[in-house]
């Protein structure tokens, strides 16, 4: 007899998000490793990966983590966003219930990253890597928690939509 593993809907959603996010982070981490290889083929792949991730991050070298002297495809803050997201998905893989937090909790966790980003843009201070990583981690957790809540809640009330422009008879 075949044995089946039953997963609740929210766990399936969390698992899919976890796999997607893991692949995304793997792409970020593996690029500098490929860039360090001597073969041109791997260096070309690394170059393409930098090109691929370019719209999602400024990719400034002195604001990114280094592996073997080569930069990751995203900066420290962006890496922290995704890493925070990975933490929260792992956490919810082992939890049975998924609930929305209060709005104030979301704001409290998201604001440090926003302030850090804005203050840096106004050049009041610059390049504190640990702070970027920490605030990014919290923001990533908020973002991916919201994403998981959104994907997990299927609540729909069967009410008919009415168009703004009523039909003329």
């Amino acid at each position: 007899m075949k044995s089946r593993i039953f997963l609740s809907f929210h766990k399936k959603v969390t698992l899919i998000t976890f796999i997607g996010l893991s692949l995304w982070i793997a792409g970020i981490v593996i690029t500098p490793i490929l860039a360090n290889r001597e073969e041109i083929f791997f260096q070309k792949i690394a170059s393409f990966m930098h090109f691929f991730y370019q719209p999602v991050c400024h990719q400034i070298a002195n604001r990114s983590f280094l592996i073997d002297g080569f930069t990751m495809t995203v900066c420290v803050r962006c890496f922290a966003f995704y890493f925070g997201g990975l933490f929260i998905t792992i956490f919810y893989l082992f939890k049975d219930k998924m609930q929305m937090w209060s709005i104030s909790t979301y704001i409290l966790l998201a604001l440090p990253a926003l302030f850090d980003f804005l203050i840096e843009k106004f050049r009041l201070y610059s390049n504190i890597t640990e702070l970027r990583f920490l605030t990014g981690l919290l923001f990533g957790a908020v973002l991916f928690h919201l994403l998981l809540v959104s994907l997990s809640t299927k609540k729909v009330k069967p009410v008919l939509h009415h168009s703004k422009t009523p039909k003329t008879q």
Binding site: I40, F52, V56, I60, N62, L147, S150, H161, S163, K164
Partner: protein, 162 residues
């Protein structure tokens, strides 16, 4: 789901996402977790929601459809904006890549050759294919995230008003 409204919302959101992705100063907002592209998805869902007089809960499926539609529209519009910028200002992204390479601690000599090759490919029009490929993968993904996140707040608002 109302296909006509979804397409209209997708187009409006796509315009926002494309502008945020391609216009040089505006696209700095994407340094903050791709917020600009996600904003496109969020705008599309709000636009879709506002097009009804009697509003109700939005399904995840509706949010996903709107997010992906927005991303697809955005990918093509963004390519168009990129092309217009290229016609007026040339390959400013290549200069940007040079700056990144200069800031790297260790640059392999092969990279110099690769940049040269890339320039050749740019002349041949290859890069437009690459940009479109990249846009078609990234923009639906981030617009989808934006639409799904804003869905939580729209539905929460609705719950409170009922």
């Amino acid at each position: 789901m109302d296909n006509q409204r979804i397409i209209a919302a997708g187009f409006v959101g796509g315009l926002v996402a494309a502008a945020m992705n391609s216009i040089p100063i505006l696209n700095f907002i994407n340094c903050f977790c791709c917020a600009g592209i996600m904003l496109g998805g969020a705008v599309a869902l709000v636009y879709y929601d506002r097009s009804f007089t009697v509003r109700e809960y939005i399904n995840p499926a509706t949010a996903i459809t709107i997010g992906i539609t927005t991303g697809l529209f955005g990918a093509f519009i963004s390519l168009g904006i990129d092309y217009m910028i290229y016609l007026n200002f040339g390959h400013w992204e290549i200069e940007f890549m040079y700056d990144i390479l200069e800031a790297m601690e260790e640059v392999p000599s092969a990279l110099e050759e690769m940049i040269y090759e890339l320039e050749q490919e740019l002349e041949g029009g290859f890069i437009w294919g690459s940009i479109l490929f990249r846009n078609l993968l990234l923009m639906p993904l981030f617009c989808l995230i934006g639409a799904l996140i804003i869905r939580v707040f729209i539905n929460k608002n609705r719950e409170e008003s009922i």
